[in-house]
């Protein structure tokens, strides 16, 4: 297979994948290096990258971080399951799309306006984008391809992304779990021995009481809290 889209850095001024002739895959198919392939082939290549490259990281976006649709909780739980099967996998969220000035905390988040800062600082060589709105995912994936040597996987709820090395479309919770199963399969094929362990409790954090949360607990993200239909928010600053 000739690779139309490759791991970067591809240069100072990246050419967009669609302008290089890459088209989104039809339903039931996926994109791998810009070519239309079977979903399993793309998932297996992505799995291999996540299992063999340094500092694999999942970047969950707002659509799986904020509980604003019925299927979010199930999908988010599946993402945690997926992360638990990738050795040394980190989860760094993209909670919103505003550029972070004067300086982003690259250990804590990634941002579509300057994503390579987080990639470079954490020396991430393989990553998964999931739950990021398509417009911002396209920008982010292109900038990563331009300036870093990072293998990108897009797990998109819509039509996928031309810019990613591996792009899976129409992804719901069941598809994330299917990818998790392929990760386990490829991991066994590669002879990587791994047993999932949950991270230890952080003794420095106070015990969280979710019932007593106020908008101020959300810090700089408090403006993103949305009331649900019929709900009246009284506790505001």
């Amino acid at each position: 297979m000739s690779k139309k889209i490759t791991v970067g850095p591809v240069g100072y001024m990246p050419q967009s994948a669609p302008s290089m002739g890459v088209e989104l895959s039809p339903e039931g198919k996926a994109l791998l290096y810009g070519n239309i392939v079977e979903e399993e082939e793309a998932m297996r290549d992505a799995a291999k990258a996540l299992l063999t490259m340094d500092n694999p990281t999942i970047f969950p976006g707002p659509m799986v971080l904020w509980d604003w649709r019925d299927d979010v909780a199930e999908k988010s739980a599946a993402i945690l399951d997926l992360a638990s099967e990738i050795p040394n996998c980190k989860i760094i969220p993209m909670p919103d799309y505003r550029p972070k000035y004067p300086k982003i905390d690259v250990k804590a988040e990634i941002n579509p306006n300057h994503p390579n800062l987080t990639i470079l600082d954490n020396k991430i060589k393989a990553c998964v984008f999931i739950g990021v709105h398509c417009h911002y995912a396209n920008l982010t994936l292109r900038m990563i391809r331009a300036g870093t040597a990072c293998y990108t996987v897009a797990m998109c709820a819509e039509m996928g992304h031309e810019e990613a090395m591996a792009s899976i479309r129409d992804v719901h919770a069941a598809d994330v779990l299917r990818f998790r199963d392929i990760i386990i399969e490829v991991r066994n094929e590669l002879g990587i021995e791994y047993t999932t362990t949950m991270p230890p409790e952080n003794p420095s954090l106070p015990k969280e009481d979710w019932g007593a949360l106020t908008p101020s607990d959300y810090g700089e993200y408090r403006s993103l809290i949305m009331s649900k239909k019929g709900e009246h928010v009284t506790a505001v600053e």
Partner: protein, 389 residues
Amino acid sequence: MSLNKKLVDMDYLLNEAPREQHFITGAQAMAEAVKRASVDMAIAYPITPQSEVMHLVGDIYAQGHIKEYYRAEEELGTMSAIAGAARGGVRMFTATSGPGLLRGLEAIVSWPGHRIPCVLGVLTRVVNAPLSIQPDNIEMAYLMHSGMIMLHAENQQDTFDYTLAAFAITEKVDVYIPVSVSTEGFFVTHAKGYVDMMSEELAFDVIDPYKAPVPAMDNEVPPARIQRDAPVQKSNFMSYLIHSVWQQEIWDSNRRAMKYVYQYLGGPIEVIHPDADVFIVASGCAAAQGREANRYAEEEGLSVGFIKVKCIRPWPKDEISAALKNAKAVIVPEHNIIGWLSKEIQASIPNGGIVVEGPRVYGGMTLPVELIMEQIYIALGMDSEKLQA
């Protein structure tokens, strides 16, 4: 929608739903399309020849086909309000003409970058000065580099079909930029033609604001976010880079729309007599005259082909290049002085020198078929007579 309509997808609405023939103006055709598009809100400021369209859209609002409608203060306000409402996740329609388009242009050219899905009717008119209200499509040249999708309707039927299709194309997740539907003022808007229309009991599925490449704004629950898109105007490399890849994304979205042009319009071009030596290539109302010249030529036994360009953006470079690969001469009749269509065609083929830049009429002048025939005779090395005014 307060009326009890049956909601259907655009494939059914455009391609399968039974139709009945009506004899209506282009303005009526555009309003009838809006009636079947489950439009949430229309905003406009009147200008001739668009006024007729938005007056009729006001009527269908009064009949309950549209939820909200108002007349704005002027076009910059209109187009800005369209952007604000569309960001809230509702389906929007507006229309304008010539000077009105240029007055609203600052807001209009920001729509694609802000990922505003909406439909803009462009009922073309002379750009002043001197003051005139007559048809001339030079204003379309100003939209060609805005990033928006541009459809150009030949007649009343196209105006109806393209306007409906535009609502489906603009809301596709991989597109999600505005679509303009242009047609010539007066020649189409105020003239009657046959239009096959489906029942008004049918309407396009309502918009799903969550099925979008950007988050919709919640305009009702405070704290209202007055700007969705991130300010990236800082003076550093990353700000420049994000802006450049953002611009690329708009034109990529424009490019992705081509598959929907095939799906809903049957492709970006129509070709008659593909093996001819001499071609007429035209869009909009000029295509109607080009089609007639093609018929004249056929009656005279001349080898003349015809290409109608339905879609100006995304520009069908590959399709036009393939269709003209054996052409010896290409005649491009247009309703403007600069010849924006002929320039696009010249840039699309390796032998641009075969493009005849004209005939062109402007300022409200009609485009007689004889003007096109004159160029055909010249291209074929035949004697021709100069058409007299």
